[in-house]
Structures are given as structure tokens and as C-alpha cells.
């Protein structure tokens, strides 16, 4: 052990481990996919029509699982409801339950309105339990008159428009949970919510592109190249913003050279050198930035474009995961003594271990699969069947 390395005795443990890496990651995926829905339903970007509905169901599936890591992480998970029934108004964390409830209610409402024509059709064709389920989901309404559909369209636009600030709050808030901890110099920056928000958009759009192309590929359905191109353009825009803010944070502080910089530079150039500079910045940011530039600025064949769209999306998903890791776990490696660093070794079978992470990352896809039985993901397959 380095003789200069000194950590406070209580700083040996990394209290917020992989579950707290996963929580912002999952909510981030929700935010990003919601952006795609917002671009179609509010801003009228027509080329996104093939994945507009998918993005909403995707967001709902992931949001429905987003709270599991938080609850699992609690020392006393059975008391989690205390956060909602006896919240302390001064605490940022006390807002988690409320913000989450508003978000999931809103996305559920949007999905129900978007799928109303489908659900009404299915209700008329179904029997037994499924019929009851469809009747519940449509609030027993079968009105598909042009006036009713026009009203639906207006309601959807209104709800998605509200959804934009709600989604921003949902994820900006997660960033604020870290940004508001003044005791940790690598967290306490007002830029934290902004960085979290933009990286959330990046990860969400990236996973949508990846899921869209891969699902279509494995089910032998055509991929809409125009839609993927629009998504890649949006992804490039958000990634430029996210990466710029991430770097702005580092470079402005390294130029200011305050105490903040001196305590954080040892962390970034020491224990986090590999995961931050090499992986997050070098491999997973610079390479996709170049790839995105190439994809957006040149005319490529559809097949080549799709291949690199998948590749760049995958790297960016990794980039955002690394960013969450470097912020959450990395930030805790530095002791508040500012004289040393602790270590973090993930365990496989722990309550917050690697296996739990795998299960929690698989769960939203299972939920998505089950939901797709009620809410068909693709418009064209439904049109084909009806």
C-alpha cells in the first residue's frame, strides 16, 4: 500500500454500487426513447413514424423496471414506501417516488391513447379474459369516429408535450442527486444534471436504433433506412452536446485549477485513468464521434449505413454505461480525506452483484416482449394483419 494513501476509516466501503449505476442508466434509456416519440408526436418528424409507437412501449417497459435497482439497493427495502408517505421536503431524493409516479402515469396514458384504435379493434375480435383486459384498457369505449380520433391526436400531442419537461425532470433530477452532494468534489457540479440528461438522450436513442434494427433483422422484416438515418442524425446532435458538456466540465476545472481540480485530477488520472480517459473518452466517445460524422455527412449505401448505425449505437450505449460507472462508483473511490483512494471489486452473487445487474437488464426486455403481445410494436405488421 502506498504510504501516502490515506482514506477515512468509514470510506473503505463503496456504499452506492452497481444498482446505483443501473438506476440512472435505466431511466436514461427511458428518456432517450421518449425523445424519439416527442420528435414524432409533437414536432412532426414524419420519418420517425416506424419507431414512434415502439419508442413509447419501449420507454414504458424500461420505466416499469427502473425502480427495482433503487429498491434493491436500500438497506431496508421494505421501508421504501416511507419515501412517499413521510417525505422530507429538504431532500432531493424524497422526490424520486413522485417524479417516477408522474412519469410512468404519463407514459401509460400516452401509450393507451396511441394504441386506442388497435385496442378497440382487438377488443371487438377477442373473447374471455382478453376481452375484459381490452375493455379495461380502452375504458370500455369503442368510438373510433374521425372526430374521436382527431381528439385522440390532440390529447396525445398535449400529453407528449407535457412529457418532455417531465422526462427532463426525471433524468435531470437523477443528475441532481449527485450534483447536490457537496461533500464529493467529483459530483458537486451544477453541470451534473445537464450531463446526465444529454447522456440519457444518447443512450435512449442508441438503444432504440439497436433494438429496432436487430428485432427487424431477426424477424426478417424490412428496416426503414430513412428512419434510421433520422435517428442517427438526432443521436449525433445529442452526443455532441453530451460529450461537449462532459469535456467542458473536466477542461474548465483543469483550467481554473481550484481545489476542486486538484482533488479530481488525481482521481481521473489515477484509479479512473483506464475507465475514463481510455474507455469512456477515447474508445467510446472519439471513435463514435468520428463514425457519426462519417454517417451523417457522407452518402452511404443503406446496408453499410445500417451496419455502422448498429455499431455506433452499441459503442454509445457502452459510453453512457461507463460514464455512469465513472461518476457513481468512480466518484466514491476518492476518500473525503482527499488523500487516497479505495477500491471497488464487483461481486457476482451479491444483492447488488453482477448477476443481479444481468437479471435487471434482461427484465425490461421480457416486459417489452409481454407488452408487445398487447401493444403491437410495429405499425406495418398490424396493418398487414388487419
Amino acid at each position: 500500500m502506498d504510504v501516502i494513501n490515506y482514506i477515512f476509516p468509514n470510506d473503505l466501503h463503496v456504499h452506492w454500487s452497481m444498482m446505483i449505476v443501473l438506476y440512472p442508466y435505466l431511466t436514461g434509456l427511458v428518456d432517450g426513447s421518449f425523445i424519439i416519440a416527442a420528435l414524432y408526436y409533437v414536432f412532426g418528424v414524419k420519418s420517425l413514424k416506424p419507431i414512434a409507437r415502439f419508442s413509447l412501449v419501449f420507454a414504458l417497459a424500461f420505466l416499469s423496471c427502473a425502480m427495482f435497482p433503487l429498491i434493491l439497493h436500500l438497506g431496508r427495502p421494505e421501508r421504501n414506501i416511507n419515501m412517499m408517505i413521510t417525505p422530507s421536503v429538504s431532500s432531493a431524493m424524497a422526490g424520486a417516488g413522485y417524479i417516477y409516479t408522474v412519469s410512468i402515469t404519463l407514459i401509460m396514458l400516452i401509450v393507451l391513447f396511441v394504441y386506442r384504435p388497435t385496442l378497440v379493434k382487438r377488443r371487438l375480435e377477442s373473447k374471455g379474459i382478453m376481452n375484459i383486459l381490452y375493455r379495461l384498457l380502452t375504458v370500455d369505449s369503442t368510438n373510433l369516429s374521425p372526430e374521436a380520433l382527431e381528439l385522440d391526436r390532440k390529447i396525445i400531442k398535449f400529453l407528449v408535450a407535457i412529457g418532455i419537461p417531465v422526462a427532463s425532470v426525471l433524468h435531470g433530477y437523477v443528475g441532481f442527486l449527485f450534483g447536490g452532494v457537496k461533500a464529493n468534489p467529483s459530483w458537486s457540479t451544477p453541470l451534473m444534471p445537464v450531463i446526465f440528461l444529454f447522456s440519457a438522450c444518447v443512450s435512449g436513442i442508441a438503444i432504440l436504433i439497436l433494438a429496432y434494427i436487430l428485432i427487424k433483422k431477426f424477424t426478417n422484416q424490412p428496416v426503414d433506412a430513412g428512419c434510421v438515418r433520422t435517428c442517427i442524425n438526432v443521436l449525433a446532435g445529442f452526443f455532441i452536446l453530451a460529450f461537449s458538456f462532459e469535456m467542458l466540465e473536466v477542461f474548465s476545472h483543469s483550467y481554473l485549477k481550484t481545489w476542486y481540480h486538484h482533488s479530481v485530477e488525481g482521481l481521473l488520472n489515477g484509479p479512473l485513468f483506464q475507465s475514463f480517459w481510455v474507455w469512456q473518452v477515447g474508445i467510446c466517445s472519439v471513435i463514435p464521434l468520428l463514425l457519426l460524422g462519417w454517417l451523417c455527412l457522407t452518402k452511404l449505401k443503406d446496408s453499410v449505413f445500417k451496419f455502422f448505425a448498429v455499431a455506433v449505437s452499441f459503442i454509445l450505449l457502452l459510453q453512457v454505461l461507463l460514464m455512469r460507472w465513472n461518476v457513481v462508483i468512480g466518484g466514491q473511490l476518492m476518500s473525503k480525506s482527499t488523500r487516497g483512494y479505495t477500491e471497488f471489486h464487483p461481486e457476482w452473487l451479491d444483492k447488488e452483484g453482477v448477476l443481479t445487474v444481468i437479471v435487471l437488464m434482461t427484465l425490461p426486455f421480457i416486459v417489452l416482449y409481454i407488452m408487445s403481445k398487447i401493444f403491437p410494436l410495429w405499425l406495418e405488421s398490424e396493418e398487414g394483419s388487419s
Partner: protein
Amino acid sequence: MGKPDAELDRDRRAFIKKVLNGTIAGSLLLVIPMPMGAATPELPEQIPGIRGKKWDLCSKRFAFIVDITRCIGCGSCCVADRREFNVPDGFYRTWVERYVKDFESQVYVDSPNGGFDGYQIPRTDLDVEIRDTFFVPKLCNMCKEPPCVQVCPVGATFKTPDGFILMDDKRCVGCGYCIQACPYSARFLHPVTRTAEKCTWCYHRVRKGLLPICVSVCPTGARKFGDLNDKNSEVYKLLHEHGVLSVLKRDMGTYPALYYMGLRREVV
């Protein structure tokens, strides 16, 4: 051969009588109130003006002063604290750090087992000429603006009107946000209760007019505790004298009620 039946019956009767008498006498002992402290003599009052009075939460303003120049690193405070609260191994409500400085002004800090075993031998891993060494006891700073209280989502950690920051382990959800928020790393998650725990400045003792256990056992008077509203208290006098008193991490804006005498600039 056994005893005759009549004799056996007599024995039985006598036995039952004895058992009944014992039971009744035992029950009476439980029912009749005994004078308080009859069994154990009451400890003499250590903080004046508390015993025999109704506890007025707002009349006291407690402060803790650590005199670094007096600490000898014996670890008595850590031992007493661990016994008082049954603190699990590897976690610390209070600890003592050892600072070593060489002639190049390089600072070496350690706190093996939180100083619990006392610093009985010098550091053997340093191959430098040592210029200076001193000990720094650490504990909860009882901030006037406590970040741990601010961030607790369920109000499980709270500030009492007399200035103590306490934990309600029945309410704590174990989220660990207070542990992240404490700039002094004075909190930990108890491995058994899975709730946050911290130094209380022995609130249970103070309410009875006794000093915190670490203050009580300190052989050199390096730890001092008292009421700032009592002009005769040692802490009042020290805080109003010309001596230099400072707090840890002043820039955090937490306004600690834990002061340090002779604090060196190397201490974080």
C-alpha cells in the same frame, strides 16, 4: 424402603408452601417500586444544571472541543465508544488519526483500526526522517447546517433544538445518501440493522448530566464538552479566549459545533 406416606405428604406440603412464599415474595418485589439507584450508586454529575430539572431543549447549546496538542493517541476514546455503542468491527463512530510530517513537508496519515489499539509503536513503513507527529481525534461535527439532515429522504436523521444530530433507526431506509453527504465521513451503514449510524455525542449520557463517554475516559483532557450558554463551562471559556480554534472543512458551509484547538493546516 422409602419414607412412610404421611411423612412424604408433610414434605410435599412444606415444599409447596416454600414455593408459594417465594413466588409471592418475588412478585411483590416486582410490584412495589424500589428507590431509584438503590442498587447502583449514581455517578456524580459531570455537566452542571441538568439533573433534577425538566429537560429544556432550547436552553442549552452544546459544543465539543478537541485539543490536538493534548491527544497522545492512546485510543481510550475509541475503545470506550465501541463498548458504549457495540459498534461493529470495521466501522467507526469516532477514530484517531496519526499525522507524520517529514523535512520535505510531506504528510503521512494513517489510522489503523481507527486508532482503537492505540498508537503504541511508530510507523515502520516510512523511510524518512520525521520532523513532527501529532494525533487528531475525529467524530461527528454536529453541524449547524447538517448536509446529512438535508438529504435524508424520510427525515430519519434530524437535528434536535439543543444541537444534536441524531438518527432514528426505525425510520431509516438505508439509502446511504447521508453517508455520501457527510463531508467528514462520520457515518456508516450498520451491517446488521442495515441503517445509517453515527456518533451522537452520547446524547443518552448528556441528558443525564454525564459527559460523552470519550470525553469521560480521555486521560489528557484532549476531548472537552460543555454548554456554551453556561459561562462557567470550559468550552465557553475556551471559545471566548484568545486561543485559535478552528473547524474542519470550513468551506463546506456546515458550521460545525466541533472545534479544534491547535488544528494544523495539514488536517482535513
